[in-house]
Symmetry: C2
Subunit: 321 residues, 2 copies
Amino acid sequence: MDRLSALLTEDLTAVDAIIHQYLASPVGTIPNLAAHLIDAGGKRIRPLITLAAARLLGGGGDGPRKLAAAVEFIHSATLLHDDVVDVSSMRRGKKSANVVWGNSASVLVGDFLFARSFNLMVETGDIQVLDILARAASVIAEGEVMQLAAANDAETTRERYMAIIAAKTAALFAAAGKSGAVAAGRAGPEAIALETYGRELGLAFQLVDDALDYGGASATMGKNAGDDFREGKVTLPVIFARDAGDDSERVFWRRVVGGERTDDDFHRAVALVKRHNAIALTLDAARAHADAARNALKGLPANAYREALEALPEFVVERAY
Amino acid sequence: MDRLSALLTEDLTAVDAIIHQYLASPVGTIPNLAAHLIDAGGKRIRPLITLAAARLLGGGGDGPRKLAAAVEFIHSATLLHDDVVDVSSMRRGKKSANVVWGNSASVLVGDFLFARSFNLMVETGDIQVLDILARAASVIAEGEVMQLAAANDAETTRERYMAIIAAKTAALFAAAGKSGAVAAGRAGPEAIALETYGRELGLAFQLVDDALDYGGASATMGKNAGDDFREGKVTLPVIFARDAGDDSERVFWRRVVGGERTDDDFHRAVALVKRHNAIALTLDAARAHADAARNALKGLPANAYREALEALPEFVVERAY
């Protein structure tokens, strides 16, 4: 990640400038609320993928920067709406925008960011890029609705869980990679390779996130641990623990996923997840997707951008340790 | 309106088919929630403008239909989000989607519709059309945030009110007209004329809506009368009444806009609006914009589409009587 950021310092600075330029509005709430989120130190992993994909394939100029800003705008819009949907109160170590400005402002500023992302794409003049990101935006929204429908459903299968994270998370990573390649004028096999890279990396990323919500490999609870549990979300650690558990454990999972949950319940959930090795199994799955991401780059030009992209999946998985 | 619908029956049927095709999703909540809104008998005034603008200028084929469906999708997305923001419980004579499916589903399905509108625009292959509608989408979101910031502000000026409705309502009408012209290959003065037509018609439309919220010209209360009052929105009838009122009336307006409001307060508000002739003044303003809309069409080819578009502003204003 640091390697990629270092390679792309100039691009990233330009992307941040574009972001602030497109946040400008005479309606003060818009830049204030949006900057509260966007300047709070997000990792910019999605725009980095777009930029690296384009630069790896020799794509020059300002197009990839606008595209990277558009990708970050779509991501930011979904975060604003997610926090409303999940009734979250913290994001990136700060009070979330819905707590500071209210749900209504978060919904509407999310809409603004979403619209702005399309303004930016239009400016690239590349309708193929618009196609890729507009499709991704539909799929993301579908994934979010799927997740909403699955919340509190203790019987959620691994298959369904994977379909949800493929849509809500991996689709934008995939589009970030693919659109970077297309912006570099390489819409053929290179675009497919970078789409696959993004999708697999996105799956690994979400699996790691979901493992961290139960403490990660070290079972050390980070500041957001337990969020999924409290929201009745069934993630892969829960699925592994539930499927390996005995009858009384399955009764426990049905109760806590479907109904009321206490802090004591969360501690029991973490213990069960640990007992059944469910974090390790989840991280094995993450590692498999991380490997698939790295492998997808094999046929591409060997240069510093490819090397940095190759190192990223390992970095993503290491977050869990 | 009937005239326009009659002229465009075939197109409208095709647009409805496109809408349902693009609502399809394996995630059942999406088509169910969206169809609840879209099939509830909206007037389709925005897609009619797009279709008529394109046909008036000789634009053929499927492009204008996809574009008209995209316009209706943007409108529908904003309605879903509006009802969440305004905590509405009724829409088009039915329970609103947020009441039936919850706020979260309404936010996310709104996002889906918004994304789908861009999918449709991409399919037209016309980046100019994408530019027009993406800009309109930004402006709409700005208008909604402006309105949110102005809510409960009893000092809202006429200027500010006009800026809000120009953004939240008239921008999409303007884009509907302009994009129809562009889809017909007439991006020059014809597009400007139809953009002006749409903007002015949209202003008239919103002014009439706001007059109806205080009973319209006949002061007969329709089923949604009082919504703006209950939400602390300062619309033109209130601005006229407030500015013509004495000190005690201004104290009343400050209290009811800024704070708690009872049904009795609404009856007094209606009485004040009536006493100061504020509905008639609002409808005069609506009529001026309706006239400007009609006048904008003067240089365009004289045909049945133009005639039907010319008749529409009068129809819009007549709703208030």
